[in-house]
Amino acid sequence: MTTTTKRRGSLARVETRQALGFASPALVGLALFTIVPVGLSIVMSVFDWPTFGDRTFTGADNYAKLFTASPDFWPALRNSAVYTLLYVPLSVALSLVLAIGLGPRIRGRGALRVLFFIPVVVPMVANVLVWKMMLQPQGLFNGIAQGWFGVSLPNFLADPFWAMAMVVAMSVWQGLGYNMLIFSAALEQLPDSVLEAASIDGARGFRLVWSVMIPMISPAIFFATIMTMISSLQVFAQPQLLTGGGPGNATKPLVMFIWEQGFTFGDLGLAAAAAWILFAIIIAITGMQFAAQRKWVHYEH
């Protein structure tokens, strides 16, 4: 009895040692490249921390400065909010319609999926350049409107309203394929028996989609909504390259503000503080989504 316990104890110790051996690269890496930066970021946010030069402790000054003395911060918050409110519903709804439309009975389904997925996997910079060309005053959009219909369109990237609209439009186009694949994967996992039962009960077309398919993939819709929301709060490359945040600061979202403060103006402390605000917003919104999911997400078990 005692010998077996002892043996088991030493075996457990051996296994613990082996496990730590297996986990140590991940643990060291995580400590060095995540835990340390997170801690450091908290410290930096309460210091006046220039890229080069002396650092001084300033307490909550950076945070106060963001809300009171930083002319671009409130607009950046507003831009991120506007972008998210426009982008998330558009992207989720359009990709859902597409995933349902692209059902198993569509010919060339695989090729179409690849097509919709191309902008997701190519560098964002390349996507943005294509749109930037089309949105020039003499570009494709205005060219078609003038050449075919005799209507002249506004100079999209020079107008605050249109610039934001186009950043959203370009992003929806770019991200469509990703959510579409998430929904396709969920739709394919629906048991055939349920769909058959529903169609025997006379559910067809829109009714079948609205009352059966959508409720049954609501966990996937929930997941996609949260991920899309988080990624839209992190938007950077599209406005940075398409509009440079302009005109003025009309399309400068939070991450671009952070990047600019940190690496254009060299104020790493202020940038770190703004990054924590971003983090708090993401956590708050995700938490709210989880609280709301009980109302509309239907889980199987």
Partner: protein
């Protein structure tokens, strides 16, 4: 037995999907007239949407073949007065695009290898071995998934300065190679492998390293493949971090930052910018075409299919 079949189904997933697609195609024979009409409408809708969707890419491709002065001709044309394939060659003369592509390839492959090594070993420790504090440490791992990269880049840049790593390959590869996502994915998959297989090997005297290398890893090829593809893509397309940590784009620039700086330098040469954009799109587009059968399965398997 049933778990064994499950593993086999996962491994043979491609054939499985093929069978299902075949079944779908057979189902394409519409039974009633109403059904046939509905199917035609669905095809029209989907193909129309696809045509609208792909038109920017098609237009960009043809613009890349035009003389620059005709890019903004009014009314717009698809094909210019001459077809200048030379624009593509000129891109390589204007900017070091081979360097950009090479850098992206190197950073992507090296980063993926690091991620694979780290996540499979850690996934094994968390998913298959029993040790004190395992679940608490794993929870910590999961917690770090919530911290977005945007929060990390500012302090990470400072850490890179302290290491003297600004403008180096290791700064492009290592900082984001230890995220918990891969470990989480591998752990989830490893847990599904029947324990009997491992125990049999243990009884035969195989240690954990041997079981890991000869039993667990070979059974996990499909999920390792999924992780590799997603990791490679995220390195390949990463923009914010390379933009911050690279100073000398002409030698260390990856494709995204290289393309961005190329566009800044060439200003109004839209012909060259479109050619460069198309060139940048080719590698990963080919990758997706090659992997198309596994796309949906990969997304579903990466835990992205539902919860």
């Amino acid at each position: 037995m049933s778990t064994e079949t499950e593993t086999r189904t996962l491994l043979l997933g491609a054939d499985d999907e093929f069978v299902r697609e075949e079944a779908g195609r057979r189902g394409a024979v519409a039974r009633t007239r109403g059904e046939r009409i509905r199917l035609v409408i669905a095809h029209v809708f989907v193909y129309l949407a696809a045509a609208v969707f792909v038109s920017p890419l098609v237009y960009a491709f043809f613009s890349a073949l035009k003389p620059n002065i005709e890019i903004f001709s009014m009314p717009p044309t698809l094909i210019g007065s001459q077809v200048k394939w030379g624009n593509f060659a000129e891109v390589f003369a204007y900017g070091p695009f081979w360097t950009y592509i090479g850098n992206s390839l190197f950073v992507g492959v090296a980063g993926t290898l690091v991620v694979l090594a780290v996540s499979t070993t850690a996934g094994y420790a968390f998913g298959r071995l029993r040790w004190k504090g395992r679940d608490a440490v794993f929870l910590l791992f999961l917690g770090t998934l919530m911290v977005p990269a945007e929060v990390l880049v500012i302090p990470m840049f400072q850490v890179m300065q302290w290491f003297g790593w600004v403008n180096t390959y290791q700064a492009l590869i290592l900082p984001f190679a230890f995220t918990a996502f891969g470990t989480f994915l591998m752990r989830q998959f490893f847990r599904g492998i029947p324990f009997e297989l491992e125990e049999a090997a243990r009884v035969d005297g195989a240690g954990p390293i041997r079981t890991f290398l000869q039993i667990i890893l070979p059974l996990s090829k499909s999920s390792v493949a999924v992780l590799s593809v997603f990791t490679f893509l995220s390195f390949w397309n990463s923009y914010l971090w390379p933009l911050i940590v690279t100073v000398d784009y002409s030698t260390l620039g990856t494709l995204p930052v290289g393309l961005a700086s190329f566009s800044g330098l060439t200003g109004t040469r839209w012909d060259l910018q479109m050619a460069a954009a198309i060139i940048s799109m080719i590698p990963t587009t080919l990758l997706v075409i090659v992997l198309q059968k596994h796309l949906v399965k990969g997304i579903a398997m990466a835990g992205l299919g539902g919860r």
